[in-house]
């Protein structure tokens, strides 16, 4: 009796203490980007950047940047082709960026997950954002796809957008 009462009291204290922090603590974001299969004479995997943009277009967080990381001499040379990302963030960085940059990916859908306990979302203030995905391909084109969203999400959300030539489906799934 005595034991169980103190246990339930402790539980209540825990729940109350946990409440204010809980939306941010549990927040998750998963991003799925489709690199389309293209029937072209000369194909090179695209350079790609995915980032979160504030309403004033400044960068709140870099999510992923794919470039030719194996080519130490020339790999970073073409990063400026991701023109918007280069302007907003890239030119302020040194490469590689820990936890952000990685090698280019083949055609197919690629998923990246983030949670608000660590990484780029840990310091993301509540507010309105846009997910921006920009892809640029050697001897190919360039495309930017945007998905507006609010953080933290009020409920589970599945947001979609689609590119027309350099990007396929882009999906942003948010969990509060």
């Amino acid at each position: 009796m005595l034991l169980s009462r103190s246990a339930s009291l402790a539980l209540a204290v825990l729940v109350i203490a946990g409440l204010p922090a809980s939306p941010a603590a549990a927040g998750e974001m998963s991003l799925a980007v489709e690199v389309p299969t293209l029937s072209v004479a000369e194909y090179h995997r695209p350079y790609l950047a995915a980032w979160l943009e504030r309403e004033d277009q400044s960068v709140a967080a870099n999510l992923s940047v794919w470039y030719q990381t194996g080519n130490r001499k020339e790999g970073t040379k073409w990063l400026a082709e991701l023109r918007q990302w280069w302007r907003r963030s890239g030119r302020d960085q040194t490469f590689p960026i820990d936890g952000v940059t990685g090698p280019t990916k083949p055609a197919g859908t690629h998923q990246v997950r983030f949670n608000s306990k660590q990484g780029p979302l840990a310091s993301l203030a509540a507010g309105k954002y846009q997910l921006v995905v920009e892809a640029a391909r050697e001897n190919g084109g360039r495309e930017v796809v945007r998905i507006p969203f609010e953080w933290p999400a009020k409920g589970p959300q599945s947001l979609q957008a689609r590119g027309t030539h350099e990007l396929g489906a882009v999906a942003l799934n948010l969990t509060p």
């Binding site: 970073t76 040379k77 073409w78 400026a80 023109r83 302007r87 030119r91 302020d92 360039r142």
Partner: protein, 276 residues
């Protein structure tokens, strides 16, 4: 031997004619002088190549090379840099430039020329061209001397990595650009603000002309005519991505050489505007 000598003479004559054209005052309809870099926004240090010409069309090479005797390249730390592989051909001057450190580079030339007309001892009208340093070459017995000063500036800008503004500092002489929007941060549809200074002071009510490149492939110049405000600033919204040519000039009676009556100061720059 003779043939070679003649050839040499012809070449030097050509060079002389080209130099004359390059230094003539610009008018909106006439040949346009420009310096155009192979790219303006680089993510890594490395080489670029640069062309300089006086042409009818922007940015093609169909008239004369631009003489670059007064070329000055300013690096991100403000130090002067040397061009490599300089060559002057029939239609253009080219050189390479190593962007060894990150930041913004200004590539340009500033000419300060004195022009005179006078009457010699026989009463014949003569022309003279020189500078403040060679003013003593004017014949001592020259009569009815009319001296005017021409200050021309032709520039372009290139950035490797993060832009900075050390190279953009104005010198305080002639007509100069004082960018508010960085010249390597231009995107189609985004308004950019440029300031202009004449002798280090805001150039108010200055007429500025902006012409898009690739002029060979359209039937109109599509030029934008703008005027600076009281603080010498002008807002430009570039409609499309591409290379643009900007020109502004003023004429006044404030030459820095006191013997001159009139002064004409002009400014020309090439900008690259990127797709949004």
């Amino acid at each position: 031997m003779n043939i070679n000598k003649n050839a040499a003479k012809r070449i030097s004559m050509h060079a002389g004619v080209a130099a004359l054209f390059a230094c003539l005052p610009f008018s909106a309809e006439a040949h346009r002088a420009f310096i155009v870099p192979s790219e303006t926004v680089l993510s890594a240090n490395g080489w670029i190549t640069v062309d300089a010409a006086v042409s009818n069309d922007l940015f093609y090479f169909n008239h004369n090379p631009l003489r670059l005797e007064n070329l000055k390249i300013v690096g991100p730390d403000g130090a002067a840099l040397e061009p490599a592989n300089m060559n002057t051909g029939k239609f253009r001057t080219t050189f390479d430039l190593n962007l060894a450190t990150n930041g913004t580079y200004k590539i340009g030339l500033a000419n300060d020329v004195l022009m005179a007309t006078y009457e010699d001892e026989k009463g014949e009208r003569k022309r003279w061209r020189g500078s403040a340093q060679t003013l003593n070459e004017l014949p001592a017995n020259a009569k009815k001397v009319e001296l005017s000063q021409n200050q021309n500036r032709i520039e372009t800008f290139v950035t490797a990595g993060k832009p900075n503004d050390v190279a953009l500092k104005p010198s305080g002489t002639g007509l100069e650009l004082v960018p508010v929007t960085h010249p390597n941060d231009l995107f189609a549809g985004d308004p950019a603000t440029f300031g202009f200074m004449l002798d280090g002071k805001p150039a108010a009510s200055l007429k500025v002309t902006v012409v898009p490149g690739a002029s060979r492939y359209r039937n109109k110049q599509n030029e934008m005519d703008l005027t600076t405000d009281a603080s010498g600033k002008v807002s430009i919204t570039f409609p499309d991505a591409g290379m643009y040519w900007l020109q502004a000039s003023v004429q006044d009676d404030k030459p820095s050489v006191k013997q001159a009556k009139q002064r004409r100061a002009s400014y020309v720059a090439t900008f690259e505007v990127l797709p949004p």
